[in-house]
Amino acid sequence: MSSLRLVLHEFKFTQKVFWRNPASVFFTALLPVIFLLIFATIFGNDKIETLDNLPTTTYYVPAIVTLAVVSATMVSLAMNLTIAREAGLLKRGRGTPLPSWVFIAGRVGNAIVISVLMVVVITVIGRVLYGAPIPWERLPALITTLFIGAASFCCLGIAMTAIIPSREAAPAITNLITLPLYFLSGIFIPENEIPDGVLSFANHFPIRSFFEAFFAAYNPHTVGSGFEWGDLLAVAIWGAVGLLLAIRFFRWTPHR
């Protein structure tokens, strides 16, 4: 069997497992949509002066896309790979002829497909419910940003499994890392409400960098192609560091 067919085989079953798991469907697919609807309802009529009077609803589309991509990639992989490791599934897979990289590739592929799906769902909801325009002319920047971000957060998620000792610890550790950064990076609260000092602190972390890059590609007021190369580079460096840590510290066997 060729490697590509093997990756597709693994991907197909990872998809099945994803959609059958109520927790993954709720937290990864439904929760971002619920957040978008809640935030848009609460702040719906506001305009953000510092962003050329951008409607808050339009602001929340790329913000919630950031949340959805981080959930589908970093958080999902960190949780699901930890659970699979502690259940002995990774060890079992290692005992078969399946190359290790295919096992990971199937799950990364799943994470990226879910990310793309969530971007489509959230931008369409933004368009239909809130009239937030779909940025067709900046599609290349949007797609590039999405893939660099999704791939980097996948690497970070795989690396995170190394510091998660058990399945019970997985939700606590992933939330401890992501929730404060969502608040500090302007995902939950519009950035004009956040002190500059806090934003420049958040700038050191990939969630803020990805949000800024995606915001530029999405924002109807953006002039030009929408590529934020500086932010994309920052995200990619985080991803590369994650990849190196993952290669060095990822373990296949459960803690006893």
Binding site: K16, V17, A87, G88, K91, T96, P97
Partner: protein, 304 residues
């Protein structure tokens, strides 16, 4: 004579200060079911995980199907099936889907339906793994280990935690593997399991193999004396008996009235004894003739 499927010489493995395996030699031949028997912590799982390619070793020569398991190849993995201790499956995949998933990893898998039949899960084929009973999950584990049609199968404590009836079912299934011509290495801490399934048993204790033989002959059992026991009749002392090597009251729970005769010729001694008793019209209440049980041998071997 073909090469052995597994050969181990002078295997050592330590974890930090703890020496888990202290120099073992072992050979497993083709189509043999070898039972590795021993208490928890004897080094069984460490040994098996070295053979499966999960763990490295400190020293010793090891070959499994002609390959050093410390350098596993994909072709080698095709020929090996592994049932690990205490692992679970994707809870939301059905029995059939789980087998399809693993079948995809092998170049020449057995047909999924055939494997479902082999492990007796026909009625649960479309049930999700999370809804199976413990015994059924373990059968599915064995099914997944069989899906690649391996030459060699490792079963690490396949029935731990089973109730007696589930264990009998599992035994029947494992016996069926013999008919498929598989070589099986089975670890267990159940004596009856080794006795019921294995062609040969290696007893491990404290990191070494303390005995290795067929279940019948284990620990020189065929050479150990047979014990004849009965209640010593009223007014008779051991020295009155017409046979040698008589001890009294060794059986627990009695007050010194049980005669125990250890003999290498039970047929002759019984004849002498019963003739003597008949002549004097003495009852030999509770007369029993017992070979040493495998359990006696095992307990003696693994005492540390």
């Amino acid at each position: 004579m073909s090469d052995p499927v597994i050969s181990i010489q002078g295997l050592h493995k330590s974890f930090g200060e703890f020496e888990a395996v202290k120099g073992i030699d072992l050979v497993v031949d083709r189509e043999e079911i070898l039972g590795v028997l021993g208490p928890n912590g004897a080094g069984k799982t460490t040994t098996v995980e070295i053979l499966e390619g999960y763990l490295g070793r400190d020293s010793g020569d090891v070959e499994v199907l002609g390959v050093d398991p410390a350098r596993p190849t994909r072709a080698w993995r095709e020929k090996i099936g592994i049932v690990l201790q205490g692992t679970t499956l994707e809870q939301t995949l059905t029995v059939r889907e789980s087998l399809q998933l693993y079948a995809g990893y092998f170049s020449n898998p057995r047909p999924v339906d055939e494997v479902i039949g082999l492990v007796g899960l026909e009625e649960s084929a479309d049930k999700r793994a999370g809804k199976l009973s413990g015994g059924q999950q373990r059968r599915l584990d064995v099914g997944i280990a069989l899906i690649g049609d391996p030459e060699l199968l490792f079963l690490d404590e396949p029935t731990t935690g089973f109730d007696p009836s589930a264990r009998r079912h599992a035994w029947d299934m494992i016996r069926g593997l013999r008919d498929l011509g598989k070589t099986v290495l089975l670890t267990t801490h159940y004596l009856e399991e080794a006795q019921a399934l294995a062609d040969r048993v290696a007893v491990m204790s404290d990191g070494v193999i303390v005995a290795e033989d067929t279940p019948e002959n284990l620990g020189g059992r065929e050479n150990l004396p047979t014990r004849i026991t009965f209640v010593l009749p009223e007014g008779i002392t051991p020295s009155d008996l017409p046979v040698a090597r008589v001890a009294v009251g060794e059986e627990p729970g009695d007050d010194g009235r049980i005669a125990v005769i250890e003999t290498d010729d039970a047929v002759k001694d019984l004849q002498v004894l019963t003739a003597w008793a008949l002549e004097r019209n003495l009852p030999l209440t509770g007369l029993e003739v017992k070979r040493p049980s495998l359990e006696d041998v095992y307990l003696q071997l693994t005492e540390t």
